[in-house]
Symmetry: C2
Subunit: 207 residues, 2 copies
Amino acid sequence: MTTNIQSLHFEPKLVEEIEKVGILKKLEAGVELMRPGMPVRSIPIILSGSLRIMRQDEEGKETFLYFLTKGDTCAMSLTCCAANRPSSVRAVAEDATELMLVPVEKLDYWMSIFPSWKTFVFQAYQRRFEDLLEAVDSLAFQRMDERIWRLLKKKAALQEKRYVYATHQELADELNTSREVVTRLLKKLEGMGKIKTHRNRIELMLK
Amino acid sequence: MTTNIQSLHFEPKLVEEIEKVGILKKLEAGVELMRPGMPVRSIPIILSGSLRIMRQDEEGKETFLYFLTKGDTCAMSLTCCAANRPSSVRAVAEDATELMLVPVEKLDYWMSIFPSWKTFVFQAYQRRFEDLLEAVDSLAFQRMDERIWRLLKKKAALQEKRYVYATHQELADELNTSREVVTRLLKKLEGMGKIKTHRNRIELMLK
DNA sequence: ACCCGTCAGCGACAATTGTCACAAAGAAGC
DNA sequence: GCTTCTTTGTGACAATTGTCGCTGACGGGT
């Protein structure tokens, strides 16, 4: 599952640079990479696997924002680094994940000399904006059953499988609702023929 | 109320450039500057007044995202321009507003030669990220009474007054709820001594 | 097999929000 | 004054979501 940095459309010289100063990090599924308040010292570039980005409130309640996958980087890291501010989100490995950590100092310098890095940074901003708007849409316009269904589809797509391995409690936490509500609505989705529920696992009936 | 571009921390040469190519535009309160699907041909820099940025779903339901005020620019414009994509949000003048429209073509060029422009663009991204996260917080973690109360405080702060001129229906539209709910919760806030309601106008009892 | 901890299912009820119907109050014109 | 339109108020009810209590199912270990 190892992806190397070469496959990410960077120019050869930049690839060289990244490999020189970047630190490869491997995360097992479920490991927390970043939490609100943590200082951000490096920019992660995801090589394989995926990160789940969550927003927390003061009491620790959470809500899902978006996933980062291969080739993505965290726009929050970019803004936090630039402003020298702590993280405002939580990042958790959704699967086993590999990423390259690039020190903050390079951000600006590379932007000025590597066009592909500049493109990369701007695309990151743009994609994360879209992702955040999608999160807003979900919160503002969709009911909980629809939100669960979409989350399941996204999770399944990440793995390219029709199974999602998660407990009802975990899904409830990601959507800032309660376990009972998730159970109830999963039953409803099952009744509609969209899924089948198993212990620790949900099967999506796509197509 | 006219603010000129000089007060925005740009270097003199850039100010000159902006004045040369920028188009000054004045909007009356309530006028729509941008709607979802519209092509974005220029980047607006707000000189005075404020813009209300809203997200819409397919059926036209809306939810408030954030306000832009003096010195701000629309990060959506930046991303949309860069990717040559239509707007994904709606922008409406909250008050009488003046803005400078800068043609897209300059975005990149100025970034490479004017440090203050680069800073400006990155700060815009950063601020709008924070604003969007605040919008997510509001949607995910707060009940409707709290959301109304916060919206009122923001609106009052924009004008630096203790009155907000709006009907219950308008507030309902901005929060994607119904007029009756707004009426009900405003009565509740009034009972708590936080506001006084009048026709077309709400008085905030701050301090 | 049995125990035990985790996970899921379910019924009852509460809280919040959404919807409908209708009335009253205020503003503006005649 | 009267009429009309807009805005606000309110009661009743529905839908959705949140919470509590309890039950049973499943799986891993012994």
